[in-house]
Symmetry: C2
Subunit: 231 residues, 2 copies
């Protein structure tokens, strides 16, 4: 078996993302404290996000709109207007948040880039993901960048066919079992799970125990050795 | 000269877009009528959109956030909360607006697809552009779809190299001189301008009079003959 191409997820694999959403949600709770209980607010936001996912997709702009909608719903359209202005500001800050590679990311990618074609495969807002990649300084390590609206088996088949030599000669690495690991395995690729301490409820899934093309890695630093061992 | 690839813009070239933004802006004016004069509101919205463009990019979600921000600014955060709920609803309706190809689009594309590789090249929200293409029923006519955050000469060089045989053997068609015509010409491609009755102020530019690779076409129905005449 020959591996030519390594796909990498971006958010929470290369840099922090979910923690920034959680911090913003904490701020949203504080903003709304005078008009809504934290638990009820969290539950309503989760419901609004789920409802809007098919329409807004993934990313900060949709999340900002969902926070505003939640604030309207839970107060029966009586949220103080300054809360809305504060939610807009919180969304803008998420979009301009500094991007720093997670520990071990740069050396692991630099090592892999010597022998493999690296492809960034990520969901989210197109412009924001491009901006984060540029800010991370990791851009030149990637042979290709594919920002997609959904990660399913056909996404991985298409991307690995276009930028590599097919899913059968590719390995995917990411923090989400649901988005990075299971559909990549289904497409015929190898897949490594590198957990991030926080996972968005929407991304939770069961690990594929005993799958011959799957590995659970303690950190991205273990990725180069695992990929080389596949050949 | 051989032409292998035809690039097509989507919004206002294949289907209505600006007119939907204008209708939504009319609705925004009506919603805000009790708290803001129409002229001042329009000017403020244009200013907020311009300020947010680098952060939000193009598309409905950013426009919705900019309308909310405008409502907050112009009322000094005293906009009635129900207005915010109505702006959110207006944004959602833009995202679910029916998509119908403009007159002449389907026959022109079907004709071109027999002899050329068609590539859709469009700005905007990734998910929404994919949804509009699916809803239009035109998807199967395209060999590739590239949704980009900005349309400059390097975008066209990259896309025509990846999906065709380079910009020198490609023709681009769209309604925006600024985004579809001038940068495609700069990249070395041919370019045809098919005007749409409305143009967003941000997209206005001067036509490249007398340029040897440029044509102004009265409608997309004239595109197949023009492209065939280049070979």
């Amino acid at each position: 078996m020959r591996i030519t191409t390594v796909g990498l997820d971006a958010d929470d694999t290369l840099w922090h993302n979910e923690s920034i959403f959680r911090l913003t949600q904490d701020r949203f709770r504080a903003l709304m404290a005078e008009v809504a209980a934290a638990d009820a607010l969290d539950a309503r936001l989760a419901e609004v996000e789920r409802r809007n996912l098919a329409l807004y997709g993934y990313g900060v702009k949709g999340f900002t709109l969902s926070m505003i909608e939640t604030a309207m719903e839970i107060t029966e359209a009586k949220a103080p207007a300054r809360i809305i202005a504060d939610i807009l500001a919180a969304g803008r800050e998420m979009l301009t948040h500094p991007v720093e590679p997670l520990p071990g990311v740069r050396p692991a990618l630099a090592d892999l880039a010597k022998d493999y074609r690296l492809v960034l495969i990520t969901k989210g807002d197109l412009l924001h993901q491009e901006q984060k990649l540029a800010a991370s300084g990791l851009g030149e390590l990637f042979a290709a960048v594919e920002i997609v609206s959904e990660k399913d088996a056909s996404t991985y088949s298409r991307v690995f066919a276009r930028y590599g030599t097919g899913a059968g000669e590719a390995a995917m690495c990411g923090n989400s079992l649901r988005s990075d690991v299971l559909p990549a395995l289904e497409a015929g690729a190898y897949a490594a799970h590198v957990p991030y301490p926080l996972t968005w409820a929407h991304e939770l899934a069961e690990a594929p125990v005993g799958h011959p093309r799957f590995a659970e890695l303690p950190s991205i630093s273990a990725l180069p050795e695992w990929v080389r061992g596949l050949s």
